[in-house]
Chain length 324, copies 2
């Protein structure tokens, strides 16, 4: 992966992915004690940055291969990104999802044009089902983060951050990125390395699922003890990726870890002050900018909101507890 | 007012007002039965399009006059827009607000740098207080809609709609604008007249407060019977403006009227499908696109979301009733 791949992905995404704005609010600046710039990828197609990586990967396939279709395992943001990217390219997406996934997620993925294959978590093996389908039909697997073209697609967010921050007069800042498997963070880090060398990548994670933060400390890949039980489900993965971790190790400053409550508080502030809908996992970077101010350097901080696919009841809870 | 004034306002707003994106969602298209393009001015500074008009008016003042300060009467979106525009120009804004206005609105207006003058609705005369202050200190009154420079500022939204729709391949569409006093609608109408002549302005209003719709039918200014009692408080005014109505009469197709429930439903869909926070009054144009489909022509419709300054409890109610 390198900046040329990210620039090439940006060309392929032009006119297809949204150029999300860079938002700010004096009220948020006051809480954070510095200027906070927010890149709201919740406004991206399908409600998360995942669409960028999916479009990048699908558009980079050889036409013959692409015509046979793609496959992904996901019940979340990656599923929707791949579904829409494939449909827009006139090809098939097969999304393998657990049968007990929320009905709305299954319906949405279908509505975006994907063929959803359900499996029983208790009795069936997801990988076996997926591999059989892929082989039989010649489908290409689109991985959620450990894929160079997916990382390049996510990195286009970094190109935009560099441009938009420069327009706002900001060239030196910590750039805090919500981090699961690390595709978003490593892509942005690679873009900033060339385009905004005075900016420093930081990753943000939810408490109890801080595998990347711990991996950055130990210098090798560490795993999460648990894989469920956080409101920040959208950004939880077992461990950093084999492709993404070396990039993060090289480019990221220390990780920032926030609690579920702090993420919910950031969701409420994004509602009242920025007028965007953030999912809790998508709000961890904003929460870090607000509540870990002593671990951040400089007059400006830039944060991503990685997605906005939050259930209404979780959002209502955030407002009940933290709004006004 | 003419297109040259709008273009000049756009120059003054460059680098200060946000260029909001043009959003869409296949799920919303499906409900509406046509493609729906959404211009979310809730993402504008201070959470509504009002910042554009305020910036336009304050920046157009002679420097000497501007240095003496400006004054506005408003407890809502116009107050916040004028407060921030004045502070950013290094001058004073005096905002005259009723003492019983919600504490948060008073606090926000002050936090944006304005001097808030409170009056007692029962015993004091707002205009007398404002006029005395204006005269004593040489303040310039910034009217919420019946001011050519304010209308020109709101019209910059129309320039962006024309450009962004063209980029999306759309040149023919009804453009539905949330309408109170008509500053936003007339500004956009004037911009489209030149920049996108195949688009047709439509105005949208809440049921029971459809003064502009009725005025368009009768051909003269009609008043609302009531001035309170709608969730769509942000866009309620007694009657169309003396400057705005002739423009609307010339350029607008028939008005579209939606119920409070339909506006709330649109708020919930903007949450789940567009990931933006709309206030009920700001969602009436989207509601019209969704629920008045037989009164709209063509394959594409463009709607504004005029603002997102909604109380958390109203927003929670919208989600409880209409989300998922």
């Amino acid at each position: 992966m390198n900046i040329e791949m990210i620039r090439a992905a940006a060309k392929r995404l032009e006119g297809h992915a949204r150029r999300t704005p860079l938002l700010n609010s004096p009220f948020i600046d006051e809480i954070a004690g510095r200027r906070v710039w927010v890149k709201p990828e919740c406004l991206q197609h399908t409600g998360s940055f995942k669409f960028r990586g999916a479009w990048s990967a699908v558009s980079a396939l050889e036409p013959d291969l692409r015509a046979r279709g793609v496959i992904a395992y996901s019940s979340g943001n990656h599923a929707q990104g791949v579904a829409l990217a494939a449909a827009s390219h006139g090809t098939t997406a097969v999304i393998v999802m657990p049968a007990d996934a929320p009905r709305m997620k299954i319906d949405n993925t279908r509505a975006l044009g994907a063929e959803v294959v359900l499996y029983d978590r208790a009795t069936e093996d997801r990988d076996a089902i997926g591999s059989a389908l892929a082989q039989e039909r010649g489908l290409t697997l689109i991985r959620p983060f450990d894929d160079p073209q997916v990382i390049a697609g996510q990195g286009t967010t970094g190109l935009e951050i560099a441009e938009q921050a420069t327009e706002a007069g900001v060239t030196r800042a910590d750039v805090v990125v919500c981090c699961g498997g690390g595709g978003f963070a490593s892509g942005i880090g690679l873009a900033l390395e060339t385009e905004a060398p005075d900016m420093r990548l930081r990753i943000a994670e939810p408490e109890g699922f801080d595998d990347v933060t711990r991996s950055l400390v130990s210098g090798r890949i560490e795993r999460n003890a648990r894989l469920a039980g956080s409101l920040c489900d959208a950004i939880i993965t077992p461990q950093p990726g084999d492709l993404t971790f070396p990039v993060l190790k090289r480019l990221s400053g220390p990780g920032l870890v926030v609690s579920d409550d702090e993420a919910l508080h950031a969701v409420a502030l994004a509602f009242s002050r920025l007028k965007v809908v953030a999912e809790p996992g998508g709000a961890v970077a904003l929460a870090a900018a607000l509540f870990r101010t002593d671990q951040i350097a400089g007059d400006d901080v830039i944060v991503t909101i990685s997605g906005g696919n939050v259930d209404a009841d979780v959002f209502r809870r955030a407002l009940e507890r933290f709004a006004d």
